[in-house]
């Protein structure tokens, strides 16, 4: 009996959802008209349905934790595999002749001996030559970006209206010859440029903004022998993507939530 009641309950529950063939619905509706017990069971299920709806409707009014929203909004999107220019390498394979090998060995010996002599004399080398400042310059980049990206009224030193002057200005101070990339297809508007120092070296900055108000910068400076060669990293919700040419290091900087910074970097690398 209990089994039959359970089966009937299930059919009556399905009737509430109208997920049964029309003829079966009609059969059950006929049963409800004639069978008081079936009607009572149907009423219980209907009451339970209403009560459940009330409960779940109230659940929707619960406030969403703000940190959950923040975590999702700032979750980094996947980095697409984009090809960025690398430093040019010689395509020729190096196969020294015996004489070249001997000369190379002698040269290395002389160089090593000279360095050892100088170290013994405790000559202080210029700090800029030996101290690895790559960490400092990235810190400076991040601090600079964080400060100026929050100042919409003072975003640039030289506006985009005079592109020729920007190129002349930054070339003269960084020693890097460049073109201003047109990133309009990536939804970015060129706003202008800045010049600042990072790690003790002048850095040119081209500043773009998106329709959503995100600030994206393309920075460049002369290569240093002690550059750490990073390609991509995130510091404090700021993403940096780097690439190099024979003479310059370039960095695309933007919020870590920027969905396509890597595409911007790849585009800029091909145009700059």
């Amino acid at each position: 009996m209990a089994g039959t009641n359970h089966k009937l309950d299930m059919r009556l529950s399905m009737l509430l959802d109208r997920e049964m063939p029309p003829e079966e619905q009609q059969e059950l509706e006929g049963l409800l008209k004639e069978d008081a017990q079936a009607r009572a069971a149907h009423d219980i299920l209907g009451h339970g349905n209403s009560r459940g709806r009330e409960i779940f409707d109230d659940l929707l009014k619960e406030p969403v934790p703000l940190d959950l929203v923040r975590i999702i909004k700032t979750a980094p999107p996947p980095r697409k595999a984009v090809r960025l220019p690398a430093e040019e390498r010689s395509s020729l394979s190096f196969r020294p002749s015996p004489m070249q090998a001997v000369l190379g060995g002698v040269l290395l010996l002389a160089l090593g001996g000279g360095l050892g002599f100088m170290a013994g004399q405790q000559v202080s080398m210029p700090s800029q030559a030996l101290v690895i400042e790559s960490g400092d310059w990235l810190d400076d980049l991040v601090a600079h970006y964080r400060m100026f990206s929050r100042q919409p009224g003072h975003l640039v030193e030289m506006p985009a209206t005079d592109s020729a002057a920007i190129v002349e200005w930054l070339l003269g101070n960084t020693g890097i010859n460049f073109r201003i990339p047109d990133l309009s297809e990536n939804g970015l508007t060129f706003e202008g440029a800045r010049l600042f120092t990072a790690g003790g070296q002048p850095v040119g900055e081209l500043i773009y903004t998106s329709a959503e108000g995100e600030v994206i910068s393309i920075l460049f400076r002369k290569n240093r022998p002690d550059d750490d060669g990073f390609s991509e990293l995130i510091r404090d919700n700021i993403a940096l993507i780097s690439w190099k040419s024979a003479t310059a290091t370039y960095v695309a900087v933007g919020p870590s939530s920027a969905a396509s910074l890597d595409e911007v970097a790849a585009k800029a690398a091909g145009l700059i």
């Binding site: 299930m10 299920l45 979750a75 939804g187």
Partner: protein
């Protein structure tokens, strides 16, 4: 920021706009409010980081619910102490949350998907990865259990 590849809209916006409903669904799969929020966080961030998104012929909402259900299965398979999102999240369950959390496994989720979210039996069964027969049985039992729960106060009836 648009992409030149014409990629679909940032899925994060869909996640944020559907957060209340996703949390509600996660609650039916969890043992606590904090666990439910952690489930949502896990499902959403995993999908974002992996660049997952529904195909153009699949609606977003059932796909998102499936993500949450998959995260629940993953959490069940590898149980571990889930860190709270923050100290502020450690709040006691409301009466409604406690009712849903107290229902036997599967009933609340079946009821939510069919009666509240409006999925068909087939769609709901697919999201929960159960047979339609199981879904129908759970739905019936949920209605019976809800019927036994009294309304909270007289003001509600007014």
């Amino acid at each position: 920021m648009t992409t030149t590849s014409g990629a679909p809209l940032d899925i994060r916006r869909d996640f944020v706009s559907l957060l209340p409903r996703l949390r509600r669904f996660a609650l039916t799969l969890s043992t606590s409010v904090d666990a439910a929020d952690e489930l949502v966080r896990l499902a959403c961030t995993k999908a974002i980081i992996k660049g997952q998104c529904p195909s153009s012929d699949h609606p977003v909402t059932p796909w998102l619910f499936k993500l949450v259900r998959s995260a629940a299965l993953e959490t069940t398979a590898k149980p571990k102490k889930l860190p709270a999102l923050s100290n502020a999240a450690r709040s006691p369950a409301t009466e409604q949350q406690a009712i849903v959390l107290g229902l036997p496994t599967g009933q609340a989720s079946a009821f939510l998907l069919v009666e509240i979210e409006g999925f068909s039996y087939a769609e709901a069964a697919d999201i929960l990865d159960v047979s339609s027969e199981s879904l129908v049985a759970r739905l019936c039992e949920a209605r019976t259990n809800f019927a036994a729960i009294a309304a909270p106060t007289a003001e509600r009836r007014a």
